[in-house]
Subunit: 192 residues, 2 copies
Amino acid sequence: MKKLFFPNIYLALIHHPVINKNGETIASAVTNLDLHDISRAGKTYGVKAFYVATPLKDQKELVERIVEHWTKGTGATYNPVRKEALKLISVKESFNNVLSEIEKIEGISPKIVVTSAKKRLNSIDFSGFRKKLKEGAPHLLLFGTAWGLAREIIAQADYTLSPIMGNADYNHLSVRSAVAIILDRIIGYEDH
Amino acid sequence: MKKLFFPNIYLALIHHPVINKNGETIASAVTNLDLHDISRAGKTYGVKAFYVATPLKDQKELVERIVEHWTKGTGATYNPVRKEALKLISVKESFNNVLSEIEKIEGISPKIVVTSAKKRLNSIDFSGFRKKLKEGAPHLLLFGTAWGLAREIIAQADYTLSPIMGNADYNHLSVRSAVAIILDRIIGYEDH
């Protein structure tokens, strides 16, 4: 029987540096539904904050406008439940800014965990990650947009989480679906 | 240890009849990312087909155009992996048309399972649903858009699946996230 627990976990969705289809480093555009879906999943599984990292001025403003609409604007009155989720979002210039924000809150650096379709030396599986979280140290779980996180970000990770496999030879989930499944696997407490 | 298995399961996303915020029956608009995210999750977990039910002519055409772009158009060449997922999609006029299509394929009616935030008499939990699937009979898992499936659809269900709970007093996931987590819980084979 799995036990209910409350991990010290942060999420970040990285829009730069990520790679495109050809392996080149780019800054990707923000997707509105990433903000909604990931913050709602984050709220469901007790995540402490959800950082959206982008260096692009117009994209930062876009995220801030969306968050403001749902947390303070007419969206907040129309759908108060959505407000609770969107309140988790903070926009940051870069991955380093996310890190220093968490260091300020926690007083120490979080352990960094990245998701990747490839098996790596510092791989950790879902039950291993769950065990680490139960020890109570702060963890930052990173997700990439476009074709994934750039190598320089992956190089800074303490752990690389195993890829999600279903029952088919296909693992090309959206980042929104991947976040939902990973949070459920590492934090969910229902047996099934 | 969970075992790998291949269930006989179909998904349908219902756009009518669903309810709005005030409990009135409406036909909702199709969301592009529902098509992508749910078909990709369906492909990951070996779902046999993903039906998108809407009676609205312009919405049916929209879905058909999107599916054609990714399965036959330039999208298919740009991203062949996406093509494999979107091929699961069929547009249907109504829930009844989805049912008769599955009856044609399977020779019998599928068991109908709905998701709901409320506990009901015919409730089934995730491990109970997994057991049913292992027996091999065809199952149709229904998801509602907007504020959820109308009562007349829920009344036709053989089972109502337990709501997804994380570790917080908040269960307001997007339908995209809910589909991903449910498929992982009932079909996924990794222990965590």
